[in-house]
């Protein structure tokens, strides 16, 4: 199955230029399609001769669902410590907007042990309903019990949309749920919108390390599922006066069985040091020169109430653990402020931080590629600028 070029092709080459996957070329005056074709349809849209047919409809092999029976926006209320992951409030605010646009309810789904009392916080953050499954076996986030519980809830209550944070948990449980339900899941979304005509959820995500954005829909299967990057949506102010209902759902114990055992958890980053949650990340690269210089990053991070990040070389050198690495083989972050110190801005690094709101770069090489991405660039030595900045901020705080 691929785009098919019919005899009407006039060899103009417009499709070749527009194909995001480089899957088309001109051969003897006609366009031809290669194996790179993802059947995205961009070519058919622009073809002036209507010569391109897209074969086979998406999802026809999965069976039809009565889409009218599915409604509402669900948000997975991921727990973190004694509260919720920050992305949950962001998703409830966004989910609220989507629900209002559709004229449908917003439901938060809360799994855990001894968590029923927490539902009020989710209502204050925007939920109309909270579905709670409260059971000892859900205390640790194990895949199979979480997956089966969510599948059970979805099958019985039929939400149109289901959102979760693109956290390690969200990115593990949601694919499992989607596969069992045989529906689509869009990873790492940075924008969500309702198509006014079709009422479908338009899910936009960066691919190729942020070089290309793709908007994806799931037309025939339900729920339409997405994981969403933390920090892309603004969380609204909680409204303690908001009204909502809490439904505690009992499950058959078989739902919770698993042969996987949760042994222990080792915490390497204290609360507030997690890169995914931080509003400010102070990141250092090879240009920091020596491990001792990292105390500058730590000091600055404290002043900003932020976390410390790193490019790959300092991690490879063992100056700080891998949990700090940002980039293609590290973490993807999107803080309000990303301060890159002695980082050249290789694409493997910027892939992990390009969606940051404000980027400040300090580098002694004025031609370093990181400056192309920076809102504010300072050419200079990190060993001079960082201590001066720290002094200045300390003075300011008194």
């Amino acid at each position: 199955m691929a785009a098919r070029i019919t005899k009407k092709c006039i060899g103009c080459g417009v499709c070749v230029d527009v194909c995001p996957y480089g899957a088309l070329e001109l051969f003897e005056g006609q366009a031809i399609v290669s194996g790179h074709c993802t059947v995205c349809g961009s070519c058919a849209e622009v073809c002036p001769a209507n010569a391109i047919e897209i074969e086979g409809a998406a999802s026809e092999g999965l069976g039809a669902q009565d889409k009218a029976a599915w409604s509402g926006v669900w948000v997975f209320a991921e727990r973190e410590g004694d509260g919720f992951a920050p992305v949950v409030r962001e998703l409830l605010t966004k989910g609220r907007a989507l629900g209002d646009e559709l004229g449908e309810k917003v439901t938060a789904v809360l799994l855990g042990s001894g968590v029923t009392d927490w539902a009020g916080e989710l209502i204050a953050a925007g939920a109309d309903d909270v579905l709670v499954v409260d059971h000892l076996d859900l205390a640790d986030p194990l895949i199979e019990p979480y997956m089966r519980t969510l599948v059970e809830l979805v099958v019985n209550r039929k939400p149109a949309i289901m959102l979760a944070g693109a956290t390690t948990l969200g990115r593990s449980v949601m694919p499992a749920v989607a596969a069992v339900l045989e529906t689509g899941l869009t990873a790492d979304c940075t924008a969500l919108a309702i198509d006014s005509e079709t009422r479908l959820l338009r899910q936009t995500r960066p691919t190729f390390g942020g070089n290309l954005m793709a908007t994806i829909v799931c037309p025939e299967r339900r729920p339409q599922m997405a994981t969403v990057r933390p920090h892309v949506f603004q969380a609204g102010e909680p409204d303690p006066g908001r009204q909502g209902t809490t439904t505690v759902v009992e499950m058959d114990k078989a739902v919770f069985t698993t042969a996987t055992t949760f042994m222990t958890k080792h915490v390497e980053l204290a609360e507030g040091e997690r890169l995914e949650d931080a509003d400010v990340i102070i990141a250092g690269g090879r240009g920091m020169g020596k491990p001792e210089s990292l105390t500058l990053l730590n000091d600055l991070a404290k002043l900003f109430d932020g976390a410390v990040g790193a490019s790959r070389p300092p991690v490879d050198e063992g100056w700080l653990p891998y949990v700090h690495q940002v980039g293609q083989t590290g973490k993807t972050v999107g803080p309000k402020l990303y301060l890159a110190c002695g980082i050249s801005g290789a694409i493997q690094h910027t892939a992990g931080m390009a969606t940051s709101e404000i980027v400040v770069a300090i580098n002694r090489d004025a031609d370093a590629p990181i400056f192309e991405l920076a809102d504010f660039g300072l050419v200079g030595d990190v060993n001079e600028i960082l201590p001066a900045l720290i002094e200045r901020l300390k003075k300011e705080r008194g």
């Binding site: 480089g22 899941l185 954005m213 042969a259 949760f262 400010v280 891998y322 504010f376 900045l389």
Partner: protein, 261 residues
Amino acid sequence: MNIVVLIKQVPGSTEIKVDPKTNTLVRDGVEAIVNPFDTYAVEEAVRLKEAQGGTVTVLTMGPPQAAEALKQALSVGADRAILVSDRAFAGADTLATSFTLAAAIRKTGGADIVIAGKQTLDGDTGQVGPEVAMHLKLPFATYVKKIESADGGKLRVERLVEDGYEVLELPTPCVITVVKEINEPRLPSLRGIMAAKKAEIVTWSAADLGEDAKRFGLSGSPTQVVETYVPERVKTGEMITGTVEQQVDRLVEKLKETGVL
């Protein structure tokens, strides 16, 4: 111990450029590489085999030229390579891809452990590993940074999470996806390269997998890409010059204006 490793050939990302005129990715001359995370998956499988015996099968779904990626895996110690390739697979999203790979794994006779990379550079979803596990009805663990032990039908792994790591014990057979921290992949030996050159790559078509063909490729994919575009880089970056003092003053002023301070 029989291990199946899922690998994918991807465009070497450093070379990815966007043509500013047409707003499309320039793929010409872009070298294809084995998805970096998958090289850690291969290495881990070969280490397990060296410690405990067994075979390592590398499996990919892709166009015929993806055989090159399989040869690379053979050159560093994989025993058997399977290419699942058919026009019917085109347009596959993660559901159809994982469905196809799961069918191929079954056809190999199954595995004690299936290892995938954390995510690919191009698809970049990290969903294929967990979805394969569900199609095979197996338990799985993502973001594995260390295999502590693998014996007695149990696999004990360390799994990276936001603020540290968890230790989990899974029964085999199971699926894991691995991160870079798990090992340092070896370079191919000369003998390995020679052996890989001569090795046979088994190729399976859609018909060979014996599944409902409608579950493959586009027709088995619930999602559709409706639009692609190059993000606007509207940054009008300001270079802050002057003495260190002046630079710091101006930066602080700017950060206050933008509200982060």
